[in-house]
């Protein structure tokens, strides 16, 4: 019992840490690697990235079931501990009562929970420990063993190991991923705690978006707002979640939209980090050509990971390109955990349709036989793309809400109003923030124009506007009520990155 106490406690600590503190990182690794049982894959990956890369991908794949990865990774790290300990005993004749052998696996553990890193280090450590252990087996064992002559020491092994682990936890510093924070600066130690928590929330939110767990996304974005960190990615996710909850136009200003219209999307830059997440919105809008563009760039940047392969397969099936879809389904068939998904995709390929996915621009013809002028994505402002979608897919509510909201967030009240007239029937109930915008339109165009176009401002909104103006004139910004802070007027006066100038 005494003999195995240290290794058992180490195994337990690692397992619990992987399953609690770092469960999201285990999933992150799985989503950014894809091991395939194919000699061609192994050969090519080893050639391009070194021999540890396919081994790392092999280990990462178990993150499909986080408990399984946690168990295997913990067992391997514990194995490193045992082999190091055995090596020290056989070669140096040193009985490691102080559990110094736990330092290497603990250090390795913390290298695996860094989402900017890979598992290559892990692989190297495991293989090195194995090699040392094998060497120690062929060397003659030391007859005299050096030991600290304090009998209770072995019983304190769990405590010593926990202390070593705790020390690493407290002093470990992971560079927070550039992807999620949009910054490359180095954080000082005081900021690390906040950034670690922030990173965790964003990784979890990204995973929740992939699961389409919109309640969880909102919960995480609320938690992130409490940390005081402003983050583009989280605003983007939050807007998406609010739309799917039917609350986008009511709750958009609950959190300061500090990125203006960009809060709703990522302007395209040839950057693999943006490519990873930027395509989500296009899939939901039904702009599958654009979704393919983003997803393909993500695949080029991040490699053939399951998520990108599945998405590309789905998009190509839905846009009627089964041969292209087939190419992305094939690697999934060679994996341990995505074979079922590959079978599902094969079925969808036969049917030519993916449940839950639609091509809003399917009817737009751009070929020589039926030649329409070409139309290109506006990669810097999704508002124009939303309008194009809406013109071709008039019932696309997401495109309608996003388009009008983007005009408001860009201070373009005049354009907003023109499009409101085009895409809203006067008898349709208007969301509160659109009525708030009408107050500004009235100031510029006059009540007669509004009346002529059939739009009305409710007395409640009218009164609220007057109250807001009164408060604003006082110049005491702290006195605004939560309702006033949650208004378009507040955003345009104090938050908009374009300043408080309105465009008509």
């Amino acid at each position: 019992m005494k003999k195995h106490l240290a290794s058992a406690s180490l195994l337990l600590i690692f397992f619990i840490a992987y399953m609690t503190l770092y469960r999201h990182v285990v999933i992150f690794h799985e989503q950014h690697h894809l091991f395939r049982f194919s000699l061609d894959y192994i050969r090519e990956t080893a050639h391009q990235q070194g021999f540890t890369a396919p081994c790392a991908a092999f280990l990462a794949q178990f993150g499909y079931y986080p408990w399984l990865a946690a168990l295997i990774w913990s067992a391997l790290l514990t194995g490193v501990y045992c082999m190091t300990r055995a090596f020290l005993r056989r070669v140096a004749g040193f009985n490691d009562s102080l559990q110094l052998s736990a330092i290497i696996p603990c250090w390795t553990f913390f290298s695996t929970v860094n989402i900017d890193g890979s598992l290559n280090q892990f692989v190297i450590v495991v293989l090195s420990a194995l090699a040392l252990y094998c060497i120690s087996l062929v060397l003659p064992a030391r007859k005299r063993v050096i030991s600290i002559p304090w009998k209770p020491l072995p019983y304190l092994a769990p405590a010593i190991i926990a202390a070593i682990f705790g020390a690493f936890y407290l002093y470990s510093f992971h560079p927070v991923t550039v992807t999620l924070n949009g910054t490359e600066r180095t954080f000082n130690r005081q900021e690390v705690k906040v950034q670690k928590a922030n990173e965790e929330l964003m990784v979890k939110a990204a995973q929740a978006v992939r699961r389409k767990d919109w309640d969880e996304v909102l919960k995480l974005s609320d938690r992130q707002a409490e940390t005081g960190v402003k983050n583009h990615l989280m605003l983007y996710f939050r807007a998406m979640a609010l739309y799917h909850r039917g609350e986008l136009l009511d709750r958009i200003f609950e959190q300061p939209q500090s990125h203006g219209p960009n809060s709703l999307f990522f302007p395209w830059k040839a950057d693999k980090n943006r490519a990873e997440y930027g395509g989500y919105i296009y899939e939901q809008l039904g702009a599958l050509n654009s979704a393919i563009h983003w997803e393909f760039e993500a695949l080029v940047g991040w490699g053939e990971t399951a998520y990108h392969l599945i998405n590309l397969s789905r998009y190509y099936i839905e846009t009627g390109k089964p041969k292209q879809a087939e190419k992305f389904i094939h690697p999934l068939k060679q994996t341990l955990f995505y074979r079922g998904e590959a079978r599902r995709l094969e079925e969808q390929k036969k049917n030519g349709h993916v449940p839950g996915l639609r091509d809003a621009l399917a009817n737009v013809k751009q070929n020589p036989a039926d030649f329409d002028p070409v139309r290109f994505d506006n990669v810097l402002n999704i508002g124009a793309d939303c309008k194009y979608i809406l013109l071709n897919d008039p019932d696309n509510e997401m495109a309608r809400q996003y388009m009008l909201l983007i005009f408001l967030l860009a201070n373009n009240i005049g354009v907003f109003y023109d499009n409101l007239c085009q895409f809203y029937q006067p008898d349709e109930p208007l969301p509160r923030i659109f009525e708030e915008a009408l107050c500004l339109v009235r100031l510029n165009y006059g009540s007669d124009r509004l009346a002529a176009d059939g739009f009305k401002i409710s007395p409640e909104v009218d009164a609220a506007y007057r109250a807001f103006l009164t408060e604003k004139q006082k110049g005491r910004f702290t006195n605004f009520t939560p309702e006033q802070r949650n208004s378009l007027w507040y955003y345009l006066s104090f938050v908009s990155p374009s300043g408080n100038q309105l465009n008509f």
């Binding site: 563009h293 760039e297 695949l299 751009q366 290109f376 994505d377």
Partner: protein, 496 residues
């Protein structure tokens, strides 16, 4: 011991029985579909054996191959998957014996009742003209703006061996593009652009590698699409300002647009560069230069852009004509500009003019608009008779609804390779076809043979810029890599 002997002998006998050719009792099977399609193609005598999938369904297949009028020399048995791998050694022997003649592919399928049914023979001529032994290409994901692993490779067409010439994993994942050779011979001249912190244009000649700056002093833009004269002295470059934009809908994913482009010629011996006002004005865009074999005429594409600052919005109204201009190697002067094919008047656009080694034919790609035909499914290869000025679509080569684009003549002018996306619509694959310089007619093309029959179904990288060469370019690999790391780019000044 005894208990192993009988099963082992049975197994050997069974295997022997399996590999013995079957004699079909029925002869009603239609010719099966092959993927890639090798039915009726003309093989060069020195090409590696094709491997393919039979896509019709049957529980088992037998493929026999032999010289026309003779017994089969190769018999391959396949399961229900229809994967056919032809032994390379036997294939080479067969082609050597059938050079100038034809071979047949004879397929038989096992029916549900267990009988074998044979299809009519598929006849494939074997040309006695060899194709250049090596094919070089760039392999990368068919992405748009991002890149990851990129490499330029050399494939031995007589086997399946592929060797890297340059791989960007060896120089910080920087981009490499536009590899080009003098007269299909890397020993005469080879060049490639490197884009990134170690950027420049690498020029390998006579066993030495030089790195010059891709941005010539006095030029409006950096050197882009190259063409090396056959004598190895001059490289013509277009100097392009390129933009990319993405189609919101329809079958084209991306449009690669010239916002501006000029032409210039670099003298690799004297380190001088030449151009002319005709080729550098802002009123027109000139791109894709290609030399006549005597190095005295440059063929290129030219378009007029009414709104250069809004090139993207008007992409579908940009039409490139096929033009030519004479060049005097003695003084670097240009003269006698002319339009060979006014594609704009035809509501069409051309790209990639490539002149045959005998100087009589010019192959180009024709599409509806723009210049980057590799993303235009309607793009088709065309051939222009330079003696008569007549052109036609190479219908014997083109696919009806997929990209047929970037092409390269072999050194003999009797073979050419081109990029086609006909297999799946997204990935460019090298296709090879023979060409008759007397008639200007080509034969049905075939996909570059691969070792594994399912290769083209599974390979997710695209073959970019296939170039046929006579000698291995991989011999330059270490010098090229060394030049990337160690040489500073040499400045070149443009003279007009």
């Amino acid at each position: 011991m005894k208990r192993f002997v009988i099963p082992l002998l049975s197994l050997i006998l069974l295997l022997g029985a399996c590999s013995r050719p079957v004699t079909p009792s029925l002869h009603t099977l239609p010719a099966p579909a092959l993927e890639p399609d090798y039915a009726g193609v003309t093989f060069p005598v020195n090409i590696a054996a094709p491997t393919f999938m039979i896509t019709d369904s049957a529980s088992a297949w037998q493929t026999q191959i032999g010289r026309c009028g003779a017994d089969p020399e190769i018999t391959v048995s396949s399961g229900a998957d229809g994967a056919v791998t032809i032994p390379l050694k036997a294939w080479k022997k067969l082609l050597a014996s059938a050079a100038g003649d034809s071979i047949y592919l004879r397929f038989a399928a096992r029916t549900a009742s267990g009988e074998w049914n044979q299809a009519p023979d598929i006849i494939c001529p074997v040309s006695a003209d060899s194709i250049d032994r090596y094919l070089t290409y760039r392999l990368l994901y068919p992405g748009y703006e991002l890149w990851s692993a990129i490499g330029i490779y050399e494939r031995d067409l007589e086997s399946y061996v592929q060797k890297p010439i340059l791989e960007n994993k060896d120089f910080d994942s920087q981009c490499i593009n536009c590899h080009n050779y003098a007269a299909n011979d890397p020993t005469k001249g080879m060049m490639v652009h490197v884009r990134g912190k170690d950027g420049g244009t690498l020029i390998a000649r006579n066993g030495k590698v030089e790195k010059i700056s891709s941005s010539f002093q006095g030029a409006n833009h950096g050197a882009t699409y190259p063409s090396w004269s056959r004598d190895g002295r001059f490289i013509a470059f277009s100097a392009n300002q390129i933009g990319q934009t993405f189609h919101s809908a329809g079958s084209k994913p991306i449009e690669v647009i010239d916002q501006a482009a000029d032409l210039m010629v670099y003298d690799v011996e004297n380190h001088k560069a030449y151009s002319a006002d005709t080729l550098t004005g802002t009123h027109a865009i000139e791109t894709f230069p290609n030399w006549s074999p005597d190095g005295r005429t440059l063929y290129f594409c030219r378009a007029f852009v009414s709104y250069p600052e809004m090139a993207e919005q008007h992409a579908d109204s940009v039409h490139y004509d096929l033009c030519a201009i004479d060049f005097n190697p003695a003084n670097g002067q240009f003269s006698n500009f002319r339009t060979l094919y006014d594609a704009a008047a035809d509501s069409a656009s051309v790209s990639f003019p490539r002149v045959s080694p005998d100087g009589n034919w010019l192959m180009f790609t024709r599409m509806v608009y723009g210049n980057f035909s590799i993303w235009h499914p309607e793009s088709q290869l065309c051939i222009l008779n330079l003696r008569t000025g007549q052109w036609r679509e190479l219908s014997e080569v083109n696919s009806p609804d997929a990209v047929d684009s970037y092409h390269c003549w072999g050194s003999s002018g009797r073979w050419f390779v081109f990029s086609s996306k006909r297999l799946d619509g997204l990935w460019a694959r090298p296709f090879i076809a023979s060409f008759d310089p007397q008639t200007g007619r080509a034969t049905k093309p075939f996909a570059l043979p691969q070792k594994k029959p399912e290769f083209y179904r599974t390979f997710t990288k695209t073959f970019n810029i296939p170039e046929l060469i006579q000698n291995p370019a991989s011999a330059n690999a270490s010098e090229l890599l060394n030049a990337i790391h160690s040489q500073q780019p040499q400045a070149i000044t443009l003279t007009k």
